[in-house]
C-alpha cells in the first residue's frame, strides 16, 4: 500500500495551558475526500493550522507521502502542495481574477516584467479546468461568493496542490451552487488530490466524503467510512450525547396578523410586489437562492433600505419604516446574517451588547442604570445558556456560538413582536443549533411572529409553518408546512 498523502501523527497542542489538541492522528489518502467534523472549539481549526504550518505543534509529527516534515511553516506547506480554502475567500477585491491567481503562482523579483497575456491565458485555462465561466479580467470585488470560491480553488490547483483543505465551503452557497462545487471536488479527486472537508452540514458529508473523522474537545472520537455511519450516530459522536436530529417543532396557536406586506417594492434593492403576512406565533421561512432578495427583504422591513412602494402593516396599522430606530420602535428585531461582523460589537461587554438596541429599557431619565443592565444581561445569559464568566466579559472573548447568542439576546431584550432571523444557525455547531431552534419555538409560543431566512432546506422545512420562496426579488410562491417538500421549494426558487 502506498504511503498516505498526508499523515498527522499524535499531535498535541496547548494554548496557555488549555489543551486544544490531544494526541490527534489523522490520515488522508490520494483521491480521498476526508471529512472533519466537530462542534465549534473541538479543535478543527487548530488541526488545520498545524497542517498548514500556521502554528507549531507541541508534540507529534506530520508526514507527507511517508516523509516527515521536520519544520512546517506556511511557506513550506505550500511548497509541499497543501492549500487551504476558507469559508470567507481571502482574495484581493481590487485586483482582477487573473492577477489574484497570478499572485499565488508567480514568483521572482519585484522588478520583473509582468506578462499580462500569459497571466490571463493561464487564468482562463485554470478556470476552465474547474468548469467555471469567469472572465479573467473581471475585478474580484464584482464576483459573487461562489465565484470567489472558484477562484480560490483555481489558485490551489494552479499551484498544483495535492492536499486541499476546504473549511465550510458550502456555508453560503445554495443547493445548486453546492452541486457545482461537488462536481469540482469530484474532478480534483479524480486527478489524485486529497481533500480535507470541514462542514457542519452532515447530510453533505455522506454525499461527498469517503471517510469522516470526528473531533471532540481536541481529541479524535473516531474515523469511520461514511457508508457505514448515519447522521444520528455522527451527531452523537460530536456532542458526546444523543441529540434529536429532528427539529423541535411544536404546534402553536396562531394569533392576529403581526405584520403584513402588500405589494411592497424596493427598486434600489431589486424587490418587487412582495405580499405576505405573518401571524404572531407563526414562523415564516424565507427560502431562495443567494441573490434572490432574501436579505434585501429583511433590510427593507428593518428600515435599512426603506421600500419605495406598497404598504407595510404592523398589527393592522399602516406604517412607514425608514430607519432601524423606527423598526425597533415598532417592535421589529433583526439578527443579521453576518453576526460576527454586524451582530455584536466585539469590544463591548456582553451587558452593553444586550442593551444596545434599546437603551431605554435600562435607562432612567436618560441615564444608564448599570445594575438594571447587568440584571437584564444576566437573565439572557442564563436563558440562552451563554457560556461566559460574567456579563461584563468582552463579547470578543467569547466563542462564535456564544457571540451569536449575545446577538440574539440583544433583540429579545427589546421585547419584539416581530423577529427577523437571517441564517440563524449558519456556521453554528450542532449543539447550539438545536438550542437555537428550541429557543425559536419558545419565542413563537410567547407570541412572536418570526421571519426566518435560511439557505438550509432541512431547517426551512423543519421549523417553518409556511414557506415563502423568493426568486429574483419576487415571491415565487408560498407553501404551507404540509405542502412543502425540498423539490417544490427548489423548483420555485429556480423557477
Amino acid at each position: 500500500m502506498p504511503a498516505p498523502l498526508l499523515e498527522v501523527k499524535s499531535i498535541s497542542k496547548s494554548f496557555a495551558g488549555v489543551r486544544a489538541l490531544k494526541n490527534v492522528s489523522f490520515e488522508l489518502l490520494e483521491g480521498e475526500v476526508h471529512a472533519l467534523i466537530g462542534e465549534n472549539g473541538a479543535g478543527k481549526s487548530t488541526l488545520i493550522k498545524v497542517i498548514t504550518g500556521a502554528i507549531q505543534p507541541d508534540l507529534g509529527t506530520i508526514e507527507i507521502r511517508g516523509r516527515p516534515v521536520p519544520h512546517n511553516d506556511p511557506g513550506v506547506s505550500r511548497l509541499l502542495g497543501i492549500a487551504a480554502i476558507y469559508q470567507q475567500p481571502s482574495l484581493f477585491p481590487h485586483l482582477t481574477v487573473a492577477e489574484n491567481i497570478a499572485l499565488a503562482l508567480e514568483s521572482g523579483g519585484a522588478w520583473r516584467k509582468v506578462k499580462w497575456k500569459e497571466r490571463n491565458r493561464r487564468a482562463r485555462e485554470l478556470i476552465e479546468r474547474v468548469g467555471g465561466s469567469i472572465h479573467p479580467e473581471q475585478l474580484v470585488a464584482t464576483l459573487s461568493m461562489p465565484e470567489q470560491q472558484i477562484v480560490e480553488i483555481t489558485k490551489a490547483i494552479g499551484a498544483d496542490a495535492k492536499i486541499l483543505i476546504m473549511d465550510e465551503p458550502t456555508a453560503s452557497l445554495t443547493d445548486r451552487e453546492v452541486d457545482r462545487l461537488f462536481k469540482i471536488i469530484a474532478l480534483l479527486r479524480g486527478h489524485g488530490a486529497g481533500i480535507i472537508y470541514i462542514s457542519h452540514r452532515l447530510e453533505e458529508i455522506s454525499t461527498i466524503a469517503d471517510r469522516v473523522t470526528v473531533l471532540r474537545d481536541g481529541e479524535v472520537v473516531g474515523t469511520l467510512r461514511t457508508d457505514e455511519v448515519d447522521k444520528a450516530s455522527l451527531i452523537g459522536m460530536m456532542v458526546g450525547r444523543e441529540i434529536s436530529a429532528v427539529f423541535p417543532k411544536r404546534e402553536v396557536a396562531l394569533g392576529e396578523t403581526a405584520i403584513e406586506l402588500r405589494e411592497v417594492g424596493n427598486r434600489g434593492a431589486g424587490l418587487r410586489d412582495i405580499s405576505f403576512g405573518v401571524r404572531s406565533g407563526e414562523i415564516l421561512g424565507v427560502a431562495g437562492l443567494v441573490g434572490s432578495g432574501r436579505t434585501e427583504l429583511a433590510e427593507t422591513l428593518f428600515g435599512l433600505t426603506p421600500g419605495d412602494s406598497g404598504d407595510i402593516l404592523v398589527s393592522g396599522v399602516p406604517v412607514r419604516i425608514t430607519s432601524p430606530a423606527q423598526a425597533i420602535e415598532l417592535g421589529i428585531g433583526y439578527v443579521p446574517e453576518d453576526r460576527r461582523q454586524h451582530g455584536v460589537v466585539l469590544e463591548l461587554p456582553i451587558a452593553a451588547n444586550t442593551s444596545l438596541a434599546n437603551l431605554k429599557i435600562v435607562s432612567r431619565h436618560g441615564l444608564i442604570d448599570h445594575d438594571k443592565e447587568g440584571r437584564l444581561a444576566l437573565r439572557y445569559l442564563q436563558q440562552l445558556r451563554i457560556k461566559a464568566p460574567s456579563v461584563y466579559t468582552e463579547t470578543g472573548a467569547l466563542s462564535g456560538g456564544n457571540q451569536q447568542k449575545v446577538a440574539l439576546a440583544r433583540w429579545l431584550a427589546i421585547d419584539p413582536k416581530i423577529l427577523i432571523l437571517d441564517e440563524p444557525t449558519q456556521g453554528v455547531d450542532v449543539g447550539s443549533k438545536s438550542e437555537i431552534h428550541s429557543l425559536m419555538m419558545d419565542l413563537a409560543e410567547r407570541g412572536l411572529a418570526i421571519i426566518m431566512i435560511s439557505s438550509e432546506l432541512p431547517e426551512i422545512l423543519g421549523m417553518s409553518d409556511r414557506i415563502a420562496v423568493m426568486h429574483q426579488g419576487k415571491i415565487a410562491g408560498v407553501l404551507s408546512r404540509q405542502q412543502a417538500t425540498q423539490q417544490k421549494i427548489l423548483s420555485l426558487a429556480v423557477n
Binding site: 494554548f15 496557555a16 488549555v18 486544544a20 465549534n40 472549539g41 473541538a42 478543527k44 481549526s45 487548530t46 488545520i48 493550522k49 498548514t52 500556521a54 487551504a84 476558507y86 469559508q87 470567507q88 473549511d167 465550510e168 428593518f302 435599512l304 430607519s323 432601524p324 430606530a325 423598526a327 425597533i328 433583526y334 443579521p336 460576527r340 461582523q341 454586524h342 451582530g343 455584536v344 460589537v345 466585539l346 469590544e347 463591548l348 461587554p349 452593553a352 442593551s355 444596545l356 438596541a357 434599546n358 437603551l359 435607562s363 436618560g366 441615564l367 444608564i368 448599570h370 461584563y392 468582552e394 470578543g396 472573548a397 467569547l398 466563542s399 462564535g400 457571540q403 440583544r410 456556521g427
Partner: protein, 324 residues
C-alpha cells in the same frame, strides 16, 4: 475597556517622573512653574477631551489647530466690537462648533475619510485666516477681556475648576449616557451599530461638532491670557492633542479610549518637556522624547492587541479560519 492597564502605566510614568524631579530638580514644583505649566496645557487638555471622542469613533481631526486660531481671533474681534468677554468666549465656541460640524457633515454624510476632510480644512482655514487678517495680530483688546475680567490670581483657579468639571463630566457621560454608548459602538463596529438602530452618521456628525465647540472654548481660554491674539496660534496643536490621546490608550482604529487616559496623557506629555529643561537636558530633546513616548505607547498597543486577537482566535474556530 474593563481593565485600566494603560491608565495605570501612564500614571506610573508620571509618578516616576515626579519622583525623579523631586530629587534632581525640586524647583520644578514651584507654584509659579506649575501654574505656568498648567495654563499652557489647559487648551491642549480641552481639545484632547473632544479629540478622544473623535478617535474613539475611529476618525481623526487634524484641523483643530486652524480652528483654534480662527476661534481665538474671533473671540478677540467680538471683544473689540464691545461684546462682553464671556459672550465672546461663547461666540468662539459657536464658531468652532460650526467649523467642526462642517468637517463632521463631510465625513458623516458625504462619507469622505476624515483624514482627507480635515487635512483640507486645516490648510484652507489656516490660509483663509492668514489672508483675511494679512497676518496682523488682534491688538488693543478691551481690558475686560483679559482673564475674562477675573484677577490674574483667580484665573488659574477658574481654569482648574473648568478643566476638572469638563473632564469629569465627559467621563461620566461616556459611561452613563446612551450617547456615550453610541460613541463606543460606532467606533468599534459602525455597521453593527447601525444594525442595532444607532444613527451612526448622526453620532459622527455630533462628535465632530462637539470637538469644534471644545476647540473654540479652548481658544477663548487661551486668548484671554495675553493682551494680543496671534493669528498663527495653534500651530502643531493637532499633533500634541492626538499624541496625548494616543498615549492615553485610545486606539487609533476606534472603539477604545477613556477620558482618564487622555487626561493622564496630556499631563505626561505636557510635563516632560519643561522637565527636561529642569534636568539640564537641552530643550531640543523635548520633541524627540515626546516622540519616543508616543512610539512606546503605540508599540505596546500593537503588541497587546496581537496577544488579544490570538486569545480570541483560539475560542472561535471560524474566526481563526477567516482571519488566517
Amino acid at each position: 475597556m474593563t481593565t485600566h492597564r494603560r491608565e495605570l502605566s501612564v500614571a506610573l510614568a508620571i509618578v516616576l517622573l515626579a519622583i525623579l524631579l523631586a530629587f534632581a530638580a525640586p524647583g520644578y514644583f514651584s507654584g509659579e512653574n506649575l501654574t505656568d505649566l498648567f495654563l499652557a496645557n489647559v487648551p491642549v487638555l480641552i481639545v484632547a477631551l473632544g479629540m478622544t471622542l473623535v478617535i474613539v469613533i475611529g476618525q481623526i481631526d487634524i484641523s483643530v489647530g486652524s480652528i483654534f486660531a480662527i476661534c481665538g481671533v474671533g473671540a478677540g474681534l467680538l471683544a473689540k466690537a464691545g461684546v462682553p468677554a464671556p459672550l465672546a468666549g461663547l461666540g468662539a465656541c459657536v464658531v468652532g462648533a460650526v467649523l467642526g460640524a462642517l468637517n463632521g457633515s463631510l465625513v458623516a454624510y458625504v462619507r469622505i475619510p476624515s483624514i482627507v476632510v480635515t487635512l483640507a480644512s486645516m490648510v484652507a482655514l489656516r490660509d483663509a485666516l492668514r489672508w483675511q487678517t494679512q497676518g496682523a495680530w488682534v491688538q488693543d483688546l478691551p481690558s475686560g477681556f483679559q482673564w475674562f475680567g477675573l484677577s490674574q490670581a483667580s484665573y488659574p483657579v477658574m481654569s482648574l475648576i473648568v478643566a476638572v468639571i469638563l473632564s469629569a463630566g465627559m467621563a461620566w457621560g461616556l459611561r452613563n449616557l446612551a450617547a456615550g454608548r453610541a460613541v463606543y459602538a460606532t467606533g468599534s463596529n459602525e455597521e453593527g451599530a447601525r444594525l442595532a438602530g444607532i444613527r451612526t452618521p448622526m453620532v459622527t456628525f455630533s462628535v465632530f461638532g462637539f470637538l469644534g465647540a471644545l476647540t473654540g472654548f479652548a481658544a477663548a481660554l487661551n486668548a484671554v491670557r495675553f493682551n494680543q491674539i496671534p493669528t498663527n496660534a495653534g500651530l502643531g496643536l493637532e499633533m500634541k492633542v492626538i499624541a496625548a490621546v494616543v498615549v492615553g490608550g485610545a486606539a487609533i482604529t476606534g472603539g477604545r479610549g477613556t477620558i482618564a487616559g487622555t487626561v493622564l496623557g496630556v499631563i505626561l506629555l505636557g510635563a516632560i518637556g519643561p522637565a527636561l529643561t529642569f534636568l539640564g537636558i537641552s530643550a531640543y530633546w523635548e520633541r524627540a522624547v515626546q516622540g519616543g513616548i508616543i512610539l512606546a505607547a503605540i508599540v505596546i498597543d500593537a503588541v497587546g492587541t496581537r496577544a488579544n486577537k490570538f486569545r480570541r482566535d483560539e475560542h472561535g474556530s471560524n474566526l481563526a479560519a477567516s482571519r488566517a
